[in-house]
């Protein structure tokens, strides 16, 4: 069903049951009174269990759309999303999402602590453990001092960190994050990047991380999936062959880091300029 000018764009796929998360020929069309909007044309890629992948792409390229489909909050128009081989048809268990609209994703009627605690409480996690998890998460995002504030009494960056703390405390198996550090300062951002990598390594969680910061995508991910502009296909699925141990100073000064970030930057510029990949132009570089 592909038009001839846009060949099947695909990210890396895995054989059989190795994939934790599979996105297969996903297409999403929004129906509006002004006509249909084809946000995502065709996406196919797999994530194996415990992988940390970053998703980059121009503004409006369908990253949020993709995340919502994976989270089972929206049904794709065509194609499917499989989690552990099972088709996603509603929010799966043990998945945490940090939404781009962090402000609206916090419950204004709950205090910071209650916001972070709610999913755990809902899961029936015993009080003592819950307290520990919540305290640790708030500590980790640097908000141990405001547990009794309401979200709307916090600055933008603080609100965003509450949303991150909630996801981290939940100890999910799959973690979807939509530009989770957009509102925090550079130093906090660096700290949070390291937090995510620590959590990822400790819990073995599968992470899909949307970011606009190219350095961040390269620093964080084992893989960077670059989306074309809308209607979206995969521009490139890039493996980040940096050492597993990363730290802000050394990793970022590696020549390979600079190479990779240049490559990503170029691809995004291409994507923005409307360039679309050919069927052949797949896989690593």
């Amino acid at each position: 069903m592909q038009s001839e000018t846009t060949p099947a764009p695909a990210g890396k796929t895995l054989p059989g049951n190795e994939a934790m998360l599979s996105v297969r020929n996903m297409k999403k069309v929004y129906k509006t009174d002004g006509g249909d909007i084809e946000a995502v044309r065709n996406l196919t890629f797999d994530l194996k269990a415990g992988e940390l992948a970053c998703l980059v792409g121009p503004s409006g390229s369908g990253k949020t759309t993709l995340l919502k489909c994976i989270a089972g909050l929206m049904a794709p128009t065509e194609g499917e999303v499989l989690l552990d081989g099972v088709k996603v048809s509603g929010p799966p268990k043990k998945m945490a999402v940090v939404f781009q609209e962090y402000g609206r994703s916090l419950f204004p009627w709950m205090r910071v602590r209650e916001n972070v605690e709610l999913p755990l409480k809902n899961q029936g996690v015993p009080k003592a453990e819950r307290d520990r998890l919540v305290d640790d998460a708030l500590e980790a995002v640097g908000l141990a001092h405001v547990p009794q504030s309401y979200p709307w009494q916090l600055s933008g960056g603080m609100q965003q960190r509450v949303a991150i703390a909630r996801a981290v405390a939940y100890q999910p198996e799959v973690l979807l994050m939509d530009e989770p550090f957009a509102a925090v300062d550079a130093q906090t951002r660096a700290d949070l990047e390291d937090l995510i990598r620590t959590v990822w390594r400790k819990l073995g969680v599968t992470v899909l991380f949307v970011t606009h910061d190219i350095d961040e995508s390269v620093y964080l991910g084992e893989r960077v999936i670059i989306l074309s502009s809308s209607p979206t296909v995969i521009q490139e699925d890039l493996t980040i062959d940096l050492p597993d141990e990363r730290d802000q100073l050394n990793t970022r000064s590696l020549p390979r880091f600079t190479e990779l970030r240049h490559h990503v930057y170029e691809q995004i510029q291409l994507a923005k300029a409307g360039h679309r990949p050919t069927a052949a132009a797949q896989a690593g570089h």
């Binding site: 929004y30 509006t32 009174d33 919502k68 089972g72 909050l73 929206m74 049904a75 048809s89 509603g90």
Partner: protein, 257 residues
């Protein structure tokens, strides 16, 4: 096809309820609870004649005037009271006082002040059905998002422009909830207003039937009230879908699962 589906939704439950009613009145007969057949017969006899002109239409006329005045007056006052804190503090106790006065004791006072006239009846209708609009408007105005309000403020959008572009649309959903309540309360008050000093009208007829033990006729009048209620509400919901198009779009996208 879509029309049939809508029709199904509209008729299904009423038909089920009528069936239940029919079955449960099969055996015994209670003077005060007529059978569906009896009611239908009374309905046809009572209303499918010149009563429509002499009783129903004048009532609906007063109803329309009363309800529209209540809506306009309620929104305007609500906007004022909702936006001006000191005005709210000043007026709230007095408004609450009036809100608690039952129409049957308010009517004689109005009769004193206004005499026996259609406008008195219209005022009775207004006096009862303005509250949901007023309260909902006040609360809707108070609930405007802070960031949005700040945005309007910094761009110098003030006064009438603020009302038109910010306050009304933002409070729209809540105002609509109030208007919806207002319609049915208006209908109820139309009946109550005709219980005093009148000699015609739908409410008058219902009360007369009740007093003269014409029970099927009384219920048939109530059915008319219900049908008017349904008709008004459908017109209202149709309008609302258009006025609040953005709102319904905003709330309903992405509810695919």
């Amino acid at each position: 096809m879509r029309f049939l589906k809508t029709l199904g939704y509209v008729l299904a439950l009423p038909l089920i309820l009528v069936a239940i009613w029919w079955v449960s009145t099969l055996g015994e007969t209670n003077f005060f609870v007529p059978t569906p057949a009896l009611l239908a017969e009374a309905f046809a006899e009572t209303w499918l004649g010149d009563r429509i002109l002499s009783d129903v239409l004048p009532s609906i006329g007063r109803l329309v005037v009363g309800v529209s005045s209540a809506i306009i007056f309620g929104i305007v006052t609500g906007l004022l009271i909702g936006s001006v804190k000191w005005l709210r503090d000043l007026t709230e106790p007095v408004l609450e006082f009036f809100r608690a006065i039952p129409p049957p004791v308010l009517v004689p006072v109005l009769m004193l002040l206004m005499g026996i006239s259609d406008s008195m009846k219209v005022v009775v209708i207004i006096s009862g059905c303005i509250w949901p609009v007023l309260l909902n408007t006040i609360e809707g105005v108070r609930a405007i998002d802070g960031v949005l309000s700040d945005s309007a403020h910094t761009y110098g959008i003030q006064g009438w422009a603020r009302v038109k572009y910010l306050v009304l649309p933002s409070a729209g959903p809540q105002i609509m909830a109030g208007i919806r309540q207002c319609l049915s309360i208006g209908l109820i008050l139309m009946v109550i207003s005709e219980m005093f000093a009148s000699s015609s009208g739908l409410g008058f007829a219902i009360v007369q039937f009740q007093r003269s033990f014409a029970i099927p006729e009384m219920w048939s009048g109530i059915v008319i009230l219900g049908l008017i209620g349904v008709a008004m509400s459908f017109i209202f919901q149709w309008t609302e879908r258009r006025v609040l198009r953005w709102y319904h779009g905003l709330r309903e996208v992405e509810n695919a699962i």
